[in-house]
């Protein structure tokens, strides 16, 4: 940046700033729109509690919950370590 004048610093900040604000909010528009579409397609409101196919009896999803916790973390560790073998 070799000591620009204050004014030019101001200009750069303005351009970078407004540019970034627009880029960020544009991406947010797309991300939000996509999220809404996916949510309304896969998790429609009538049945909001079923992220996985679980319309069976009560005890069934329970066993699966326990698995989910370990799965969430074990998968995380596995994937991480797989990618970190030196």
């Amino acid at each position: 940046m070799d000591s620009p004048s204050l004014i030019s610093e101001g200009f750069t900040l303005m351009l970078a700033g407004m540019g970034f604000v627009f880029v960020f909010l544009t991406l947010l528009v797309y991300a939000t729109t996509a999220m809404s579409k996916l949510v309304n397609k896969y998790i429609p409101e009538a049945q909001p509690a079923a992220a996985a196919p679980a319309p069976s009896a009560a005890p069934a999803p329970l066993a699966q919950d326990q698995a989910q916790l370990t799965a969430v973390i074990a998968a995380a560790i596995k994937q991480y370590r797989a990618n970190h073998k030196k």
Binding site: S5, I7, E9, G10, L13, V21, F24, L28, T32, M35
Partner: protein, 432 residues
Amino acid sequence: MDKLINLFVSSGIYQIQLGQAVMIAVGLGLLFLAIKKNFEPLLLVPIGFGGIMANIPEAGLALSAVENALHLGGPEVVQQLSEMLGVSGADPKAIKEAYAMAGQAKHMQVTQMAIDAGFNNGMLYNFYLISIASGAAPLLIFMGVGAMTDFGPLLANPKTLFLGAAAQFGIFATVLGAVGLTSLGLMDFSIQDAAAIGIIGGADGPTAIYVASMLAPQLLGAIAVAAYSYMALVPMIQPPIMRALTSEDERKVAMTQLRHVTKTEKIFFPLVLLLLVAMLLPDAAPLLGMFCFGNLMRECGVVERLSDTAQNALINIVTIFLGLSVGSKLVADKFLDVNTLGILLLGVVAFGIGTACGILMAKVMNKFSSTPINPLIGSAGVSAVPMAARVSNKLGLEANPQNFLLMHAMGPNVAGVIGSAVAAGVMIKFVG
């Protein structure tokens, strides 16, 4: 008798400096605006009162132990301070400058000496350290604001985010204004100062305080006062600009009803926003992270009691300390400066430009959009939630008594909060 004379000599009335008297009057003025004119009273009552307390002569409530030692200590103490800081002579100003330049280790050493000499941080100074210097208070307020914010209207019409983006031009134009005034020799702002002043245009109190505390703490008092005052003045500042930039026909445009937004979408939105911040602008992570956290607590439906506390007890407690701490920055030395007038001037310009850009952006979008967009909702993009949205609604009703814009304007209104937090992140990144 000696004691009584001593008491009088050390009493405020004998010791008061003109600047302090003036600042006490300013504090009373802020209380008047807050109580009588209803200018953002939740912040301006504590700020005004804190400002008065900060200027009580000889009490040193807003000063650090070192400043108190320098001010109230005898020549011996001052001598010790100047020696420790390697200043020749005992000029208080030179000692303060040397202290500001010194590193943490020296700061600690000098503070220890001041305490040994019997001086302590003032009450308001401690409040400031804990609530603002640590960054905690604005973040916790942002969390509470997140817990109070309904993103439904924004999710129903995500395009309104563009309005929230456009209105941030007020921020950056003001940065340019501030450096321009400095180049002309009228004011004396660094680029950091200019950035902190610009953020007034974000029309968002906690964001402004957060940025100012990082980039220009010496201007924090004036910036916070300007930000909250102009937010209260939004119903006066915006209408003329809105009328000037729109035709009667444009103001009459009716918008199609917003679609229903599901609970699940509302739960996902803060996470989407957080991930985008994580990927693109880590420097905005504290502000937007806490905001999203508050909003997730609100929407997820399983932590009602935490959400309630974030919206009530916690935000109220933090507001009290934040307000008093901002008030502590209204000490005469730092506030009574021509730069303060510059800040007030630039702040209103920032609000105006932001309003105008929001309106113009809405006009452009109306041209290209499949569904009609009333340009009046553009001005809500500056945030100032929910006042700006109400102003849009009011002008809409004036033009067309069946035209309720409030919910439509809430989209850009909350988009403006996100927009100015992003702008804050960019500024901290570049000049912080």
